[in-house]
């Protein structure tokens, strides 16, 4: 029984409940584990850091404690020094750039076509009736299943990787953007009509700006998919890229290199995610929900 609960049991006052409603000195549990209640910033930051500490800690115990042979799981330090040598001596930056470039082009292409099409699908019933069934069907075909076909069509250079990313991102992204603009409240459009807006003005001045925050949210999610599909494509066949480095390392049983590659992908993902959060705050200062 926590302190908060015990106190309540001792003095059951009417309307007394633990958590948010309990204004006396709260116990540890009530302070940090009340649903939806904020916790101090410092505590949140400390918890975030400690999650990494825990993971690296367990990893250290397993490897340095000799529980797992270094052949299967090299220690964190070994991975860190390997990562340094990869960048310093083995031209890993070139591979990172190759992956980054493919993501950039594939993702931008998907967004450039998916966003306008998605907004159009969400806004116009006729566009929806035409595009939605086919896109919904293709969405369920895994992009990775297209890789053999795309290799036949495009070879194993950048074009094939970009095509895989495109197929993997474009279809779901379009439908999610369509959802965003379909959920713009009708009242917002009606009020624009009563202010004298034409159909085109309602689309351009209300539907499109109202959709942007939701669109950016989905771009952030879509970028995660892009990374996944890129690495899958590079693992199947590539001559450069992070996935290629990981696959080569696997052939030579260089476990530490594989882990270093995976960590790099994680770090890049975290960076791009932070970039999108920052973009959201800068572009949409009016949004009710900031960050997340």
């Amino acid at each position: 029984m926590s302190t908060a609960e015990r106190r309540n049991a001792e003095s059951p006052a009417p309307g007394d409940r633990p958590g948010a409603g309990d204004w006396r000195r709260p116990g540890f549990l009530a302070r940090y584990l009340t649903p939806k209640e904020p916790i101090p910033r410092k505590v949140a930051a400390a918890l975030a850091v400690s999650s990494f500490v825990v993971v690296i800690g367990i990893w250290s115990i397993l490897s340095y404690g000799g529980l797992v042979r270094p052949y299967f799981l090299p220690g964190p330090w070994k991975v860190a020094t390997t990562l340094y040598t990869m960048f310093a001596d083995e031209g890993f930056a070139h591979d990172v750039w190759a992956s980054f470039f493919r993501i950039g082009v594939g993702f931008l292409l998907s967004a450039a076509i998916g966003i306008p099409l998605g907004i159009a699908i969400g806004s116009f019933r006729a566009v929806q009736a035409f595009f939605e069934p086919i896109i919904a069907a293709v969405r369920y075909m895994p992009a990775s299943a297209f890789i053999p076909l795309l290799i036949i069509w495009f070879g194993i250079a950048d074009t094939e990787k970009i095509a895989v990313i495109y197929i993997g991102v474009f279809f779901p992204l379009t439908l999610m953007v369509a959802d965003v603009s379909a959920n713009i409240p009708k009242e917002l459009l009606n009020i624009a009509y009563t202010l004298g807006a034409s159909r085109w003005q309602v689309f351009r001045r209300v539907l499109v700006p109202a959709s942007w925050p939701g669109v950016l949210d989905n771009l952030r999610i879509g970028l995660g998919w892009a990374w996944t599909y890129l690495i899958v494509a590079e693992l199947v066949a590539a001559s450069t890229g992070i996935g290629h480095v990981i696959l080569t390392a696997s052939r030579f049983f260089q476990t530490e290199k594989i882990i270093a590659g995976i960590v790099t992908i994680g770090a890049l993902g975290l960076l791009t995610d932070a970039f999108f959060r920052w973009l959201y705050r800068v572009l949409f200062p009016y949004a009710e929900r900031l960050g997340r």
């Binding site: 409240p185 009606n190 202010l195 109202a210 009016y286």
Partner: protein, 252 residues
């Protein structure tokens, strides 16, 4: 007015005639589901009636237009525009010059007591302030008619009382034709020159009540015997209707 639903057609309104004199304040009251909002949306041109016409200043209405400004119950400010830009939205659509828009917005924000919030985003405003911006936005178009669909319905009782007093002041200044839908009978009597009492299913005009309380009105009018009399009368009309057996839906 007939609505098509999955269960067949539902007649929402039947043989409703509302005539609003220029610069009059008309309130439409009725129990929920009587079709009063439908009626207002038809006036706005947002819903096409299955039969009948709407005319503004003798010209038939063929869709929504800037001559009929609308204020909804829900906060319909554009969240990505600042308060001033929200107010300027209508004039900007018409292609008004920058100075002209600015003048209009400045004047209205001054009247609404919102000058210091001109550069705020709607999310920073309270519910009452949001509705004042919504009224300013509608007035910025200089409409012939202002249509208000339970505009204070989402406000708490005290804010609401303030908003009502505020609206009478605005009306005294602008003398705009207003059609105001509400289910709050006190509000209807306090604000309106005329109160249309509607019955339900299909919605009909039950009675037209003239509010013979002199203007300008104040809080003191709410306690008068005449006010209580009018309220009792309107309430009894609505209760009679609620107690009456439901009419079978007549398909049109």
């Amino acid at each position: 007015m007939v609505f098509e639903t999955r269960g067949g057609e539902v007649q929402a309104l039947d043989d409703v005639t509302v005539e609003i004199d220029d610069a009059h304040f008309v309130c439409i009251v009725g129990a929920s589901g009587c079709g009063k909002s439908t009626l207002l949306n038809i006036m706005a041109g947002l819903i096409r009636p299955t039969a009948g016409t709407i005319e503004v200043g003798g010209r038939p209405v063929e869709g929504p237009g800037a001559d009929r400004g609308m204020v909804f119950q829900s906060y319909t400010l554009f969240p990505w525009l600042k308060v001033r830009e929200n107010v300027e939205f209508g004039p900007a659509l018409k292609g008004a010059s920058k100075e002209e828009r600015r003048r209009t917005a400045d004047r209205l924000l001054e009247e609404m007591g919102l000058v210091e919030f001109a550069r705020a985003y709607p999310r920073e405003l309270s519910g009452g302030m949001k509705q004042r911006v919504a009224i300013a936005r509608a007035l910025a178009n200089d409409p012939q008619v202002l249509l208000m669909d339970e505009p204070f319905g989402a406000l708490d009782a005290l804010t609401r009382a303030g908003a009502q007093r505020f609206l009478t002041e605005i009306w005294e200044q602008h003398r705009r034709t207003i059609a105001f839908v509400t289910h709050d009978i006190d509000e209807a009597i306090y604000l309106g020159d005329t109160v249309y009492v509607m019955s339900r299913r299909p919605g009909r005009i039950r009675e037209v009540v003239q509010v013979d309380i002199s203007r300008p009105r104040s809080l003191d009018d709410i306690g008068t015997p005449r006010f209580a009399e009018l309220k009792h009368h309107i309430l009894s009309l609505i209760f009679e209707d609620l107690d009456a057996p439901a009419e079978p839906a007549s398909a049109a």
